[in-house]
């Protein structure tokens, strides 16, 4: 599964070339579901769950609150 996921990312990155777009061509990127933090409230919960159950954290952003997380 890990290899498949790697492959997906590589395919996308390999196939990507930066194509400048004009402001009036940003209709797709403007959609809510294309936002970097779409579903922010779900991500908020995910971050807290995985933070309290795994040793690794961070990367997406910084700041927030603290917890004892037993």
């Amino acid at each position: 599964m890990k290899k498949i996921l790697c492959l997906v990312v590589i395919i996308f990155l390999g196939g990507c070339t930066i194509t400048p777009i004009k402001p009036w061509e940003r209709d797709i990127l403007a959609r809510d579901n294309m936002a970097l933090d779409a579903d922010a409230m779900l991500q908020l919960m995910d971050e807290q769950i995985y933070y309290s159950k795994e040793a690794a954290s961070g990367g997406k952003g910084i700041g927030g609150g603290g917890c004892g997380c037993n």
């Binding site: 599964m1 890990k2 996921l5 790697c6 997906v8 990312v9 996308f12 990155l13 990507c16 070339t17 930066i18 194509t19 400048p20 777009i21 402001p23 009036w24 061509e25 940003r26 209709d27 797709i28 990127l29 403007a30 959609r31 809510d32 579901n33 294309m34 936002a35 970097l36 933090d37 579903d39 922010a40 409230m41 779900l42 991500q43 908020l44 919960m45 971050e47 807290q48 769950i49 995985y50 933070y51 309290s52 159950k53 795994e54 040793a55 690794a56 954290s57 961070g58 990367g59 997406k60 952003g61 910084i62 700041g63 927030g64 609150g65 603290g66 917890c67 004892g68 997380c69 037993n70």
Partner: protein
Amino acid sequence: MQLKYNLNPASDRTRSAQTLDPRSDMKRLGNHNKDSTQRCHSLPESISCTVQVRSPAVSSYKSIRQQLTVATCSLLTAIPVLAIDTSPLDISLSSMIYSEDGRVLVNEDVIEVQKEIDDDEFVTVRYIFDVMTGPSHNGLPKLDTPQTLTSPSGSTVTSKTSEEPTFAFRDTRHALNLEWEKPITRLLSTTNAVSISGEYDYLSAGGSSSWNYDINDRLTTLTAGVAANYDLITPVGGTPLGLGSSDSEKNLGDQKKGELDALIGITQVIDRKTLLQANYSIGYSKGYLTDPYKLVAYLNNVDLVPVSDNPYFYEKRPNTRLTHAFYLQLIRDFDDDVLRAAYRYFIDDWQIKSHTYELKYSFSLLHENELQFHYRYYTQTAADFYHYFLINDARAGVNNHDVVTELSQLEYASADHRLGNLKSETIGVKYSQRFVSKQSKLDLRLDRMIQQDQKGKFNDLKAWIAQIVFKFIY
């Protein structure tokens, strides 16, 4: 510990609106409209004068035209009042249940209110309330003999044979987060936040500041941020001596720790349908990083039962930790469907290395509703001081790393599974329903998480995650 749930500044919806997509242009258009309506304050007089000058002789129409003029001007003057005074509140309500099979149950409720106080300037207040209850694993292994222990609250607990010992706990957590986003120039914006949270045995306060700068015709956003956190730990029953016997007195008093984080990132519009985000973050923690409730077992190498004297002792971790995280996210549109692929590599000076892969695919349904499938795969190597248990001499099948002839030889030790060789998978589904006005949205999601020891030593942890989120404008 510090939760990284403040998202990358570049990912914030308002900032992404400024930097990445036409919503910023729409917003600016919206503001121009607002400006236009504000200027309409002066219109009634001029219109009225024009009417009177151009038609002085047509008295039969005069009253009608005047009335129409007054009505028109009344409407025009009413609009800016609405535009200025009715800045709406964006409200999000969330309730989540996290339920481990036979273990911990958490209910977390969130209310978030956001208000635009000026053009592209937002204030957000978020309140979180958690209730946590149930048995939590205390670090000891499952053995062929029952294990009798004293819980942090002082009660005696005896585990069943071949069952991982646990301590039952109940706690609540209140957290408050205040965030202020402000554009500095057309291309530069900042977000500053403070947060405070409290549990029965834990207090935390922190702040963060991040900056976004758009370049390359706003197709690229550069991000930089710093955060600091200060925590006060007051363990139930007192703080135990690290590596001290579980029978010893816990009289070390309150503990504290601090954490500093920094992040740099870049977000790039690849083409009309693709976004790429890359971040690097570094974190440094100093202070009491030990879990005061976790124990380590010291076993006899002959029959793997607790040695007769001092069978259990409290864990002890280093008092500093340096972490690095590299994060990559790709978002791609496929004819209204959306694929999100993310990868994170994490490494720290406790010798933990971790890979996280995440895939989300959203199917676009009628009326902008959505169905999303989600898969997450996580692995980590163990901390160099992690031991499933320790034995007092060499034994076949037990790693030499876990052999300690004298406990005084140990500098650090922990049997907390979260520092072990973990593998975790989460699979989930989410449904999003927009309501007629499109001013409100309901999200329902259900995830199943399974966490396993890659060495197969400790029991699997299985949990359900259910969440409902309702967003609306008030």
